[in-house]
């Protein structure tokens, strides 16, 4: 599989996290190859969102290490990890609602290029930033709504802006937390297509429940149960796995 020469884009080793008695991550050894299209699934409370928070630096692990391109990033802050290329989207749309779509993406691009704290020149005079943000919107077919405040957009469109903001950060590893959550089925197709067309060099980890979506997008699937990796494999392997079915369909203990 992956040769020793090319380390995985993202790796966790023995990652642990608990809040008091509640363990949300228990010795998770996880690898995400470069350019991967991988899904992370698991029942409610399995620790998926905690895993995302650990990887992005929102939570500090109780134990274990996180590596990006074989470099240890465990001690880095959230902002520093973003600069290194670990970027996430949110399950519940987390955008600058009162600002325009273009402004949302421009903020991200400008932060990535290190000019977010620049106080001397007008934001509008940095044309390359605006053009880059705008080009991104064109790629996601959001440019017609570039100047509209995000809060006026349909929710499905807001989900796309969510992805656009993440792309503005030029991610190496992109964690998509339920990218189609809360979107009516009629609109989710656009989101799937957008994800399918993402640049091949971005390693994608999709946290998702919708199996149709997972099977369409992912080439590998990791199943997380109670803070532990239950199994990992190709979609076919996961679909055939009796344990996974049991987790999802449930059995009475005596049955």
């Amino acid at each position: 599989m992956t040769g020793a020469a090319t380390p995985p884009a993202l790796e966790t080793r023995g990652l642990c996290k608990s809040f008091g008695a509640l363990t949300v991550a228990s010795r998770i050894d996880f690898r995400l190859a470069r350019g991967a299209r991988q899904a992370l699934i698991g029942p409610n409370g399995a620790g998926k969102t905690s895993f995302v928070n650990l990887v992005t630096g929102v939570l500090k692990p109780s134990d274990g290490r996180i590596l990006l391109d074989a470099a240890d990033i465990t001690p880095l802050s959230q902002a520093q990890r973003v600069k290194r290329g670990i970027v996430r989207t949110f399950q519940i749309t987390t955008l600058f609602r009162g600002l325009s779509v273009l402004e949302n993406v421009t903020l991200a691009v400008s932060e990535r290029l290190g000019s977010g704290g620049d106080i001397h020149r007008a934001a509008g005079s940095r044309r390359h930033i605006i053009d880059e943000a705008y080009a991104l919107l064109e790629r996601l077919a959001l440019h017609d709504e570039a100047l509209r405040p995000v809060k006026e957009l349909a929710y499905g469109r807001q989900r796309l802006v969510e992805i656009a903001v993440a792309l503005g950060l030029a991610p190496k590893v992109l964690l998509l937390d339920e990218p189609a959550a809360g979107v009516p089925s009629s609109e989710s197709g656009t989101i799937v297509e957008t994800i399918e067309r993402l640049p091949a060099d971005i390693a994608l980890l999709i946290i998702e429940h919708d199996m149709d979506l997972v099977f369409r997008l992912a080439r590998r699937i990791t199943v997380l149960v109670a803070g532990q990796i239950l199994v990992e494999g190709t979609p076919q392997e996961i679909a055939a796995d009796a344990r996974v079915r049991q987790v999802y369909l449930g059995e009475r203990a005596h049955a």
Binding site: P43, N44, G45, T93, K151, Y155, Q158, E178, A181, G182, P184, S185, S188, H209, D210, M211, D212, F215, P235, A239, V244, R245, Y248, L249, G250, E251, R252, A253, H254, A255
Partner: protein
């Protein structure tokens, strides 16, 4: 199938939180004392369905009737007083109240009293002076159920009552629910990830996918056809 003047009737309900519409035209009819399993993957709107019946979401269309009365514009507390009991997914025990106070604040006159709830869940009786934040997961679950019963509901909404419980506790809670079904004539809506358990327990079932009903009918056929169930729930993929 049922007398529409009795029980719970949802008609083309559209609802969600803020901008997000989660349920897109859900209809269901539940006769008094009937049992219904609500199945589906995470995030398809099961919890939202219960929250909508309880009145905690933004209703965008459709109607909700309880015993012939339109309740969709009533605040949650009025719905509770009309006989809807709610056992939420996270249990949401009042942490700074004792077990007995948790039960007491929810009580309304009727067949269910403190004594009967304690008789039903003896372990709660032993911990009646303990505060909500000192209970184990199983005890919290029993308390959440007991608290809902204290309101003497005609309809119970239960959101994943078995989630996160140890197998022994799951059995204890299930025994309680079995007994409840036998001894009391309340209607029950059970949202469960453990589909088989829920189907064994209920007469009817409903499967949701992305806020739309993809199956509504008796529970038994789904139990007998695991592949169909898996497909409906999107665990396996239609090939």
């Amino acid at each position: 199938m049922t007398d529409a003047a009795q029980g719970l009737v949802l008609d083309a309900v559209r609802a969600g939180y803020g901008d997000t519409v989660v349920l897109e035209g859900v209809s269901l009819t539940l006769a008094p004392a009937a049992t219904l399993a609500v199945l589906g993957r995470n995030g398809v709107g099961k919890t939202t369905l219960l929250a909508t019946i309880m009145g905690q979401t933004t209703l965008r269309g459709g109607s909700i009737r309880l015993d012939g009365r339109e309740i969709s514009s009533l605040p949650p507390y009025r719905r509770a007083r009309l006989g809807i009991g709610f056992v939420p997914q996270e249990r949401e025990i009042f942490r700074s109240l004792t077990v007995e106070e948790n039960l007491d604040v929810a009580s309304r006159p009727g067949r269910w009293t403190l004594e009967r709830v304690y008789d039903f869940f003896p372990s709660l009786s032993e911990r009646r002076r303990n505060r909500g934040n000192q209970l184990s997961g199983g005890e919290q679950q029993m308390l959440a159920i007991g608290r809902a019963l204290m309101g003497n509901p005609s309809l119970m909404l239960m959101d994943e009552p078995l989630e996160g419980l140890a197998p022994v506790i799951v059995e204890a809670v299930l025994r309680g629910l079995d007994r409840l079904k036998r001894e009391d004539d309340l209607a029950l809506v059970l949202v469960e990830q453990h589909a088989r358990i829920a189907l064994e327990f209920t007469a009817d079932a409903m499967v949701l996918d992305r806020g739309v009903v993809v199956y509504a009918g008796p529970s038994q056929p789904l139990l007998k056809e695991p592949d169909r169930l898996a497909r409906l729930m999107g665990v396996a993929r239609a090939h």
